[in-house]
Structures are given as structure tokens and as C-alpha cells.
């Protein structure tokens, strides 16, 4: 098994498979096209490009939803994608909505439990720490940067961590609210954009970016999403952009916040675990040692267990068979 081979897909065939699934979904559910929240990142871009291949540009709406803490590249690259695909688009700055929901005030209040001087003028990000070894705990720190450039890092105590996560989740949920607004007014379906690693590992906000009518690339490893990106001709600047959460006001990589390793190594570990490969084979392919692979596998299991509830539909006390029968 070599790393480039095991995750190789036939991009033409996969594009057609996704196109058929998209068209069939829209026909079955009587929707006229899709709305996609664009971030200028590879996942939303490939999702939009696949939708255009499947439906035509006139049936795809791209939503650009920056806010005052967004990375400048997000809006710029999202506009590049709209121009490249020649799709309809709408720009909705969500800063006022965040303000109305009290996001900035609530976030700062929570952050001050760890960094007493923190206020709205500071930038910040949250970083995960694993205490190491195959059997491990994680904890979170906030890195704050004051306007004068000095930084302060502090471990987040329990209530502060929950408060920061809850406040930050406003961003994903407000964006999803706008996606469904446009979907409702234009009779479109909402296409979600998670890749397989994100979907599998619960890297999404419940009723935020985790909510969608269809998720065209959730079965694809991120490595495979990049293969589609090349096949579909995604602009180079989008393909070269490092994965980022673009959630906090300081740049934050996925591996700082959620995943243990860069995505290409996580993909190989996840693929190996899903296909029952030996840790030695996965280690060789991912250029890791066996202990690290086993540590990642254990972490994958923990995250699946911890985030299982994010995938759940509402639980009913008793079945409503007239509705269950429709599925």
C-alpha cells in the first residue's frame, strides 16, 4: 500500500456519481437547486463545483457570509469561486447578527475567566492539548493577543471553555439560518460541505454547519476532495490555501484545534482503521510510527463516541410510524 494509491479515486466517475445523487435528491424532494455557504476553502468550493456540474450554474446559489473576525482571504477567495463558476451569489455580513445575539460580549466574558484583561479588542484562538500517549486526556487553552501585540495563553477552565464554544457556535448557526432563508425563498436545498474526516469525527456544530439537506462530499476523504479539486479545475489559490477553521480571530489550523495530525496523515489513519489495515502498514504509508497510529486510532474512537449525539435525529419517546414509513 502506498500513500498516493490507497486514496486514489476516479474523479470523473465520482463526479458523475455525486451529480446523479444530487439530481435525484432534488427531484425526489421537489427543490430547484442548491444553496451553498462558501468559505473560499476546498470543501465548499468542490461542493459548489460539483453542484454546477450536476445542475448547471443557474441552479446554484453561493452565499458569502463574512464577519469582522473573518480571515480576509475567506471573502476574497469566495468571490474568486463565484467568478470562476459563474453562479449566482449573495453576500451577507453577519457581524450585526452576531452583535445582536451577544456573541462578542458573551465570548469576551467567558475568555476573561482565563485571561482577566481580555476584551473585544483582543484577538484569540482556542488550542487543544493532548497529554500524550495512547490513553490520553485533552484540554483546551485560549491564546489571546492584545492590541499592542502581546500574547497571553491560559488553560480554559470548565465554564469558560463551554462559554466560549457556545458563543462561537453562533457563527455556524447564524450562517446556517441564512442558508435556509435563501433556500426557502428560492425553493432550493441546502448543501452541506463536510468531508469524511470532519463528518466522521464530529467536527461540526449541531444545527450549524452540521445541518444540511444533502452532504455531497461527506463520504470522501479530504485527500480525495483535493483530487476532485484538481479534476474540476478549482483555482490554484483555493487549492493551495491551508485548511483553517476561520472561526477565531487569530489564524487557527485544524490540527491546533481538533485533529491530531495534518489532514493527509489523518486520512490515511482513518482509512486504515476503517479497512482493518495493520498499524504497521498504516504507519509506513503515513510516515508515522506504530504507537502514533494506535494513538490516533484510539482518538478516532473517542471522538466518534463523544460526538455521536451530534449526528442524532431528535429522539422520540415512541415511534410515529406514519412518518417513519415515509423514510
Amino acid at each position: 500500500m502506498t500513500a498516493p494509491d490507497i486514496l486514489a479515486i476516479d474523479p470523473a466517475a465520482e463526479t458523475e456519481r455525486i451529480a446523479i445523487a444530487l439530481r435525484n435528491f432534488l427531484i425526489r424532494n421537489r427543490r430547484r437547486g442548491v444553496v451553498i455557504g462558501l468559505s473560499g476553502g476546498i470543501d465548499s468550493t468542490v461542493t459548489a463545483a460539483l453542484a454546477v456540474r450536476a445542475l448547471g450554474a443557474d441552479r446554484v446559489l453561493g452565499l458569502l457570509m463574512p464577519e469582522r473576525q473573518s480571515d480576509e482571504a475567506t471573502l476574497m477567495l469566495s468571490r474568486v469561486v463565484v467568478e470562476w463558476l459563474k453562479i449566482r451569489s449573495a453576500e451577507e455580513d453577519i457581524t450585526d447578527l452576531l452583535e445582536a445575539a451577544g456573541f462578542f460580549r458573551r465570548f469576551s466574558s467567558a475568555a476573561r475567566q482565563a485571561i482577566p484583561d481580555f476584551d473585544d479588542s483582543w484577538k484569540s484562538k482556542v488550542v487543544i492539548h493532548a497529554t500524550g500517549g495512547p490513553h490520553t486526556f485533552s484540554y483546551f487553552s485560549i491564546v489571546g493577543q492584545a492590541p499592542d501585540g502581546r500574547t497571553e495563553t491560559a488553560r480554559l477552565p470548565h465554564q469558560a471553555y463551554l462559554g466560549i464554544v457556545a458563543a462561537t457556535n453562533f457563527k455556524q448557526r447564524i450562517r446556517k439560518m441564512l442558508e435556509y432563508y435563501h433556500a426557502d425563498r428560492l425553493n432550493l436545498a441546502v448543501a452541506g460541505t463536510p468531508n469524511r474526516l470532519e463528518y466522521d469525527q464530529g467536527f461540526f456544530v449541531k444545527n450549524g454547519d452540521g445541518s444540511a439537506d444533502i452532504k455531497p462530499i461527506a463520504h470522501l476523504y479530504k485527500t480525495q476532495v483535493y483530487q476532485l479539486a484538481e479534476y474540476l479545475g478549482v483555482p490554484t489559490e483555493v487549492r493551495r490555501r491551508p485548511p483553517t477553521t476561520d472561526t477565531y480571530s487569530l489564524p487557527q489550523g485544524h490540527d491546533e484545534f481538533y485533529f491530531a495530525l495534518p489532514y493527509h496523515q489523518m486520512d490515511l489513519c482513518l482509512y486504515g482503521k476503517n479497512h482493518g489495515l495493520s498499524p504497521e502498514v498504516v504507519a509506513a504509508a503515513a510516515k508515522l510510527d506504530r504507537a502514533t497510529v494506535e494513538h490516533v486510532w484510539a482518538d478516532i474512537d473517542r471522538k466518534r463516541a463523544a460526538t455521536h449525539y451530534l449526528h442524532l435525529r431528535p429522539t422520540l419517546v415512541a415511534d410515529v410510524p406514519e412518518i417513519s414509513a415515509l423514510e
Partner: protein, 87 residues
């Protein structure tokens, strides 16, 4: 069982198991039994810091110290011996 172990058990059962103590062994791993996740760990740490007047250092946030009732009790004993507790 010591008072400390009793207190830890009570917290774990009430907080994470909704009062249902289904025979959790003192040496049962919280991680292996799916009792705590990352959020649960920092909730446990907050409880220990508040109840025992200690500061759990970053490097002490390990399964060896916190992953079972026995481990926590032993960790608290070490903190007490080092003069790091007021309770």
C-alpha cells in the same frame, strides 16, 4: 472506602451517570468505560480544584492522575503530601 474515594465516587456518579451507580469499580478507567470525554475531564478538574483547594497543573492532567477513582485519590494524596491542598 476512604472519605476521599467516597466523595470522588459521589461526584462521578452524580455528574456523569445521573445518580446511577451500576457498580463502578474504584479502578475502572473512565476513558475505557466512556464515562468522561474532554469536556468531562475539565469538569472533573474544576471540581477537584474547588473542593480540595488545589491547582491541577497542565502536566498533571493525565490519565495516570485522573482516570479512575483510585487514580484521583492517589493523586490527591500526593498533592496533600506536597503541601498543595487546603481541604
Amino acid at each position: 472506602m476512604s472519605d476521599t474515594k467516597n466523595e470522588i465516587r459521589k461526584f462521578v456518579v452524580e455528574t456523569f451517570l445521573f445518580g446511577q451507580d451500576t457498580g463502578l469499580a474504584d479502578d475502572a478507567s473512565f476513558l475505557d468505560h466512556g464515562i468522561v470525554d474532554s469536556t468531562g475531564v475539565i469538569e472533573l478538574v474544576a471540581h477537584l480544584e474547588k473542593t480540595y483547594g488545589i491547582k491541577v497543573k497542565d502536566e498533571e492532567l493525565t490519565p495516570d492522575n485522573l482516570d479512575s477513582i483510585d487514580a484521583i485519590a492517589a493523586y490527591l494524596d500526593r498533592k496533600r503530601a506536597a503541601g498543595g491542598m487546603i481541604a
